[in-house]
């Protein structure tokens, strides 16, 4: 298999890339690692006139702390997140989720930003971004803007990004107090998409939940934020009963479809179990000071 013909540009700078998209964004696809786009091109589900390869642009990778945020460059690869000791101590949900993405070979090429922009409802990063309340920085020739993760995912493979914009950075607010997160994923085999996966995150203040985030993978037409379940946690002590109630609310909010991986009832129950398991792990980590 090989893709339909396309024009190819590999701009030398972000400014050049934004110039190209300003002219031809409507007919272009932006490629980072290509691990989602190239299979689509080969299957000819996508036949763009132009592919803009930003994969080798300098300065769009790496992780830094700044202004109460963790700032991750959009071209940071899954493998870099998976192997980062800094992230493992600061925000272990990130390497934990990276470890579950596709397989090791794909993780050597695929990027955080590319995966988020691909917006596959079965993608892992979207749920993590929803749980962590991440802000996504989009740049265009006209300037930049910040989009909250909750506003970014609009539907299957559809985001708030305009055709002339490139996602350049992911900003994750860092907790002032004790915080913890966890990513739980059920997959049939390595490299398969999730049957169900759930990202959970809590911040604790004086024994009570100050902030909660729950993102769900493969149970809707996009990565879903379990807003009602989050509300059920905030301001309360994270007892088994409170966690169980949040888990029930999240399962009720999930909208899975029956397929080869399981029935609707089964998937909703996996959501319930994973929210419960994930919240308990997140609370335990927060209490440990992780």
């Amino acid at each position: 298999m090989f893709p339909a013909a396309f024009d190819y540009r590999a701009p030398a700078s972000l400014a050049d890339a934004l110039d190209i998209l300003s002219d031809r964004g409507d007919e272009a696809k932006v490629m980072a690692g290509g691990q989602s786009l190239i299979p689509l091109l080969k299957l000819r589900f996508s036949q763009p006139a132009l592919v803009v390869d930003i994969g080798r642009l300098p300065d769009l990778g790496g992780v830094r702390r700044d202004d109460g945020h963790l700032r991750i460059g959009a071209l940071t690869r899954h493998v870099d997140i998976e192997r980062s000791d800094e992230l493992r101590s600061m925000l272990p949900i990130l390497p934990e989720a990276a470890h579950w993405i596709a397989d090791p070979l794909v993780r050597n090429r695929g990027t955080l930003g590319g995966s988020i922009c691909h917006a596959d409802p079965s993608g892992d990063w979207g749920s993590v971004m929803l749980a962590l309340d991440a802000e996504l920085v989009a740049q265009s020739k006209k300037g930049d803007r910040t989009i909250r993760a909750a506003d970014f995912f609009e539907g299957p493979f559809t985001t708030a990004l305009r055709p002339d914009e490139i996602l350049t950075e992911i900003r994750i607010p860092l907790a002032k107090g004790h915080a913890g997160g966890a990513y739980n994923k059920l997959e049939r085999k390595v490299g398969d998409f999730a049957t169900v996966a759930v990202a959970t995150y809590v911040e604790l203040n004086g024994g009570k939940v100050a902030k909660a985030g729950i993102g769900m993978t493969s149970v809707g037409d996009k990565n879903l934020k379990a807003a009602a379940a989050e509300k059920a946690l905030v301001g309360r002590e994270a007892t088994d009963e409170v966690i169980a109630e949040a888990a029930r609310q999240a399962a009720a909010a999930a909208e899975p479809k029956a397929d080869i991986r399981g029935s609707v009832e089964y998937k909703k129950d996996v959501v319930r179990v994973f929210v419960q398991r994930g919240l308990k792990a997140a609370v335990a980590r927060a209490k440990e000071g992780r």
Binding site: M1, F2, P3, A4, A5, F6, D7, Y8, A10, G34, Q35, I38, P39, L41, K42, L43, V51, D53, G55, R56, V79, A102, D103, P104, L105, V106, N108, R109, V190, G191
Partner: protein, 169 residues
């Protein structure tokens, strides 16, 4: 468009369509047919090559994305006709039957041992989890990589012994 890359230590420069996949470039343009096309959908790892030392799927990469890169294929493993330790390991431990997945398995093993000279069985199994074997079963592949790890470590300790171990004797 022009693409310049190094494959197994040799510089290549060629004019390719942007849509040409790296695996097709290696097999058709360079006639390096040791890199196999298996599933062609980024699932099986038969097309694994090393890109600047890291295993990637060459069916899910455009040749033009490899501009300036250093590629190693299975043909680049043996130096001067002598099997590399990873090849000797597969030979000694019967790490293959049909051999279709073997180039990918060996390259993944090679990259793993570069990064982690004495991996646990769990780490080996995780490293090869993107590569599918349909006949040997994974037992002997794991043993082959363990064999290569031991041989490399022995060679590092006693350089004069290296050739004998690498040759599988």
């Amino acid at each position: 468009m022009q693409v310049n890359l190094k494959v197994n230590g040799t510089e290549h420069s060629d004019d390719v369509e942007p849509r040409v996949l790296l695996v097709d470039f290696l097999r058709s343009n360079l006639r390096l047919t040791g890199t196999h096309i298996g599933c062609d959908t980024s699932s099986c790892g038969a097309c694994t090559v090393l890109l600047n030392g890291e295993p990637v799927k060459s069916c899910t990469m455009l040749a033009v994305q490899a501009e300036g890169a250093n590629i190693t294929t299975v043909e680049g493993l043996a130096a001067g006709g002598a099997m590399a330790p990873i090849q000797a390991g597969f030979h000694e431990e019967h790490g293959l039957q049909c051999g279709f997945c073997t180039p990918g398995m060996m390259l993944v093993g090679e990259a793993l041992l570069e990064r982690n000279p004495s991996p646990s069985e769990e780490e080996i199994r995780w490293a090869i989890s993107g590569n599918i074997c349909r006949c040997t079963g994974y037992m002997n592949i794991v043993k082959a990589i363990q064999h290569a790890a031991a041989a490399k470590q022995a060679a590092a300790k006693a350089p004069s012994h290296a050739a004998a171990v690498a040759g599988g004797q």
